[in-house]
Amino acid sequence: MTAPPRHPSFLELDRAALGLRSAELDQHVETCARCGAYLARVMNRSEPIPAWARTPPAPDTRVGGWRGWLPRAWPVLATAAVAAVLALVVVVPKSPVQDGPAYIAPKGIPAVAVYIKRGEQVFVWDGQASLVPEDLIRLKVASQEHAYVTVAAGAPAWTVLFAGPLSAEPETALPTSWRVDAAGSEEVLRVIFSTEPLPADETVRLFSEAPRTEKLWTTELRLPKSTSP
């Protein structure tokens, strides 16, 4: 009777998957179904790449554990949602061609809601409140007429922060949040809803033009910033 073989640690297996192999480990993997199956899983390089990993995040953004804080804030957000439904309106940030504050529009128009996480507190942007450095902002979008959403910042040289399909749900919470820095007096974001993904070579132009056509709809967010809440 022989002693059961000692499995290598997962660290050792992961290193092997990245190319750091030893004869001893190779020998073990050949005869161990468990370790062989694990290596096959982590070396599978053919899986589809999700939308969030197709576009590199901008260097000045940091992604937080968005699904971590949003559920904890759910009672507050649910109350806000009920209030919005009762009023039969959705708050839509101002359009690029209007100068007034956030306005109220009927349902059906693509809508963007901004959630702000400040410390442990999460609240919906009311169209006027100022951001402060280190706030995390995250968007929830909705459109009945479009299938894709693209978000960009950094006018006039627009940088895409997110691009991906809308979910089948009535609202899509974008899987990325952005941390507010101390630079400038406002954050300007543009959100383009489209029926098809935006062509890469036309993205910057489209964000500059902020089109509102049958197939493309642009919403602009201008979020003022201050140094204290």
């Binding site: 640690s9 997962f10 660290l11 290193r15 990245l18 390089r45 995040p57 554990g65």
Partner: protein, 161 residues
Amino acid sequence: MDTDIQSAYLRYFPLIREKCRRMLGDSDEAQDVAQETFLRLWKSGFQTKDPRHATAWIYRTSTNLAVDRLRQRRTVPSEVAVAQMAVERSTAETEVQHRQELELYARHLPPEALEAALLHRLDGLTQQEVAEVLQMSDRTVRRLLLKLDAQVEHLRRTLGT
């Protein structure tokens, strides 16, 4: 690190995801931590292709993030999740037991000791490997694990679980 994010994803994400599932089960939370670990790796401008450095960084960061999540939990792990884990890997009974216990007591235990325990008991790292990943001495790792065992035993008695 690979020069484009998609190549980096294919190279690193599968092992990051497996690591997070071992710590947090097959859950949305594990997916979140995996995603955050990968994006941090990407944004750190990580240039090395050395598997030794890359994996140490990934293990350190993902374990740190998972410990934060475990300490925030207010509920005990579901029996269903535990049962699924047990079916998934026939040799994983002790692993499941360790994870369940760590989840139960996470809020009461020091983060550093939890990190060492996750790496040693769930990932099967030797104490020397844990020391390498956490950038501490073997002796400190041994001390942390011994202390953690004593604390868990104390919690078992005081919380009556």
